[in-house]
Structures are given as C-alpha cells and as structure tokens.
Amino acid sequence: MNEILTQEKSIYIQISEMIENDILRDIILEEERVPSTNELAKLYSINPATAAKGINILVDTGILYKKRGIGMFVSKGAKKKIMETRKEQFFDNYIKTLLSEAESLGITKEELIKMIEEKDN
C-alpha cells in the first residue's frame, strides 16, 4: 500500500486498485488482513468515507470479506479472481489504446505483431 495517488482517476478506485495490486504481487496474501479504512485515510490524508468506498468495491466483488470486529481480509481465491477480471478488461484498457495510437502513427497490424514477436529478442 505504498503507491502514490494520482489525479487521473477517482481516489476510491485507486485505493481498490492498489489493494488489488498488492494482492497480485503477494504483498498482501490471501486470508491476511488489509489496512483499515482509518489506516488508509491517515496514510493518504484522504477522507475515511473515500477509503471505505474503495474497500467496499472489493467487498462487493468478493475480493475482501469482513470479519466482524477485526477488519477486512483477503478472500481465498482473490488473486485468481483479480487476474481473471483484469484479463477481461485487458482488451478495453490496453489493446484499444494501442491500436488507436498505432493507427494515428500509420503503424500496420503486421508491423505491430512483428514488434510484439521481436520484443524479447
């Protein structure tokens, strides 16, 4: 949870994505507690309601669950679930932008594929 907030996106979305990133990178493991709303609010100097909104998105999607009186925890299978969702969004988030930029630069589909194939050489 040490990313820096940017102005490109709503803060609550950034909070939920940061927690997801930490889960993807095994910084927070499944069945471990995530920082509380107040801890997040203090860390980023943000309104606790905003932090709570970010956490609640992850509760709604089943990534986190609440243990009464203790806090929020990472669900079993959360990492896999995040990867699946991000894969579904990959086309919209990355491929579309890539194709649109390639088009305005006159890069053909063949050239693009070649770039990807030659990336590791």
Binding site: L5, Q7, E8, K9, S10, I11, Y12, T37, N38, A41, K42, Y44, S45, I46, N47, P48, A49, T50, K53
Partner: protein, 293 residues
Amino acid sequence: MMELIECKNLCKNYKDKSALKDVNVTFEKGKIYGLIGRNGAGKTTLLSIMSAQNPASGGSITVDGEAVWENPNALKKICFSRELNVSQTSSNGLGAMKVKEYLKIASIYYPLWDKDMAKKLVNEFELDVNKKMGALSKGMLSMVTIVVALASKAPYTFLDEPVAGLDVIMREYFYKLLVEEYSETGRTFIISTHIIEEASPMFEEVVMIKNGTLILKENTEELIASAFHVNGKAEDVDAATEGLSKYHEEIIGRSKGVTVFLKNGEKIKEGYDVTVQPVNLQQIFVALCGMGA
C-alpha cells in the same frame, strides 16, 4: 432532530457592499467540508457569522436546531479558529500577548478543551509558548490556529486558511493530523483553503462561494467524476459537447478547450476526434470562478 448547522437566507452587508447574498446551506454533523472561493468571496464572513462572531444582516443560523446568536448553549459546540495576521495581532493588543496566554484564553473559552492535545501539538510544532504573538511568523501563527482548532474539541470546528504560510512538510502533517482527529472523533470540520488540490482528498463535500453567493455544494468525488475537459478542433468540440453545461472556453487558433459537467446520464458524444480528460477540483474551481467565468 438532525444534527447540523443550517443557514437560511443569510445576508451580510458592509456599508454599501453586499458580502453574502441569500445564502442557504447546511453542514451535516460528521463530515469534512471544504469551503472554497476566491479572495473576498465571503468565506471568512460566512464562518464568522456561523460562529456568531459577526452579526448577520438578515437570515438565520441554527446549530442542531438552536439559534447561535447570543446562545452560549449553541456556541459551545462551535470553534472558529480565525486566521491570524501580523497586522491584526499588533493593532489590537494580541501582538503583545504570549502564545501561552493566547492558548490559556482558548482553554477557558472552549468548554471541551483538551489540554494534553494542545501540549502535544505545541511540542510537535516546536512552538515557543513564551514568544509574543506579534513575533511569530505567518506559518507559526497558522500553527497556533491549528492547535486552538484541534484542541477545542468543538463538535463543529471551522478553520480559515489553516495552512497559510506553512511549508509543504507542515501542510502534509496538518492534513494527517486532521484526518486522524476526524477518524477518531467524527467531529465536523469546515476548512477554507486556497491550496485546493492538496486538501481536496480530505473533503467529503465541497462548498463553493462566488461574490457572496453559494454556487455549489456537492460530494467531492461525485463532482470530480462528473467534470471533464474536452479539446480538439473547435467544430468537433462544439459537436461533441452540444447541449452540455460548458464552462471556461478557451480558443487558440482552430483548437478549443472547454470544461463540461455531466448531469444524470449525460454523455460527451462519441464519434468526434476530441481528447477528453479528467479534471481535478482546482481546475473545476478555475472553470467556475476564474477570470471571465
């Protein structure tokens, strides 16, 4: 009964100048509000009237249902930690007062005063309590107003330009202190500031005033999410934003930039070669209150 501060048809006239015009606004308990407006917009006037330090020319203010004017019962719930200025401090005798004397008066005035907290903050700010108020820098005066505001423990606390003159380290420290105090107590804070971008993530709601008139009161996140900057070839921008509420149009040659606010379900029309970017609270403020806006 709802716990809130309610201003109804509030007006304030100074001689021939109208500082507040028919302001209707409520501040609910348990939120952090950002009060923003340009210099002279009426922010300080509003806060001073809400805390009965200044009489209104018309309208009413109630706290949790009780009128504030000459009502100690209502006033003990409110702390307005005014911005202190050096000229002010030297002219009215405050300049000759020691910091510890000033804090002593505050401790008597505010019934819920937290002595330990005041002491802790004075230490953390490295304030010399034996110094005279008149000898303090602008930043140190701001620290004194912050100590008073936080240690007052008043359920409704107003801070007027609390970070004026503070360096970025102290400003960030103040934001942390405020969020910490808020998450522990749920006190209501109304904060006026010109350093909008730094403070905006703390504000649950933003209240904007312009020339003495309330122009906006909205949930900060929702407001920011509804606003976009659109730019591109002028005719494309016009076509893509047709029918939307537009502000702050800027034209350079063939290119045009405009800020739009999308209301319930409105969209920027697709199919035009325009760049759509998110905007921050400061940019929204400039769009609504800037020169020529």
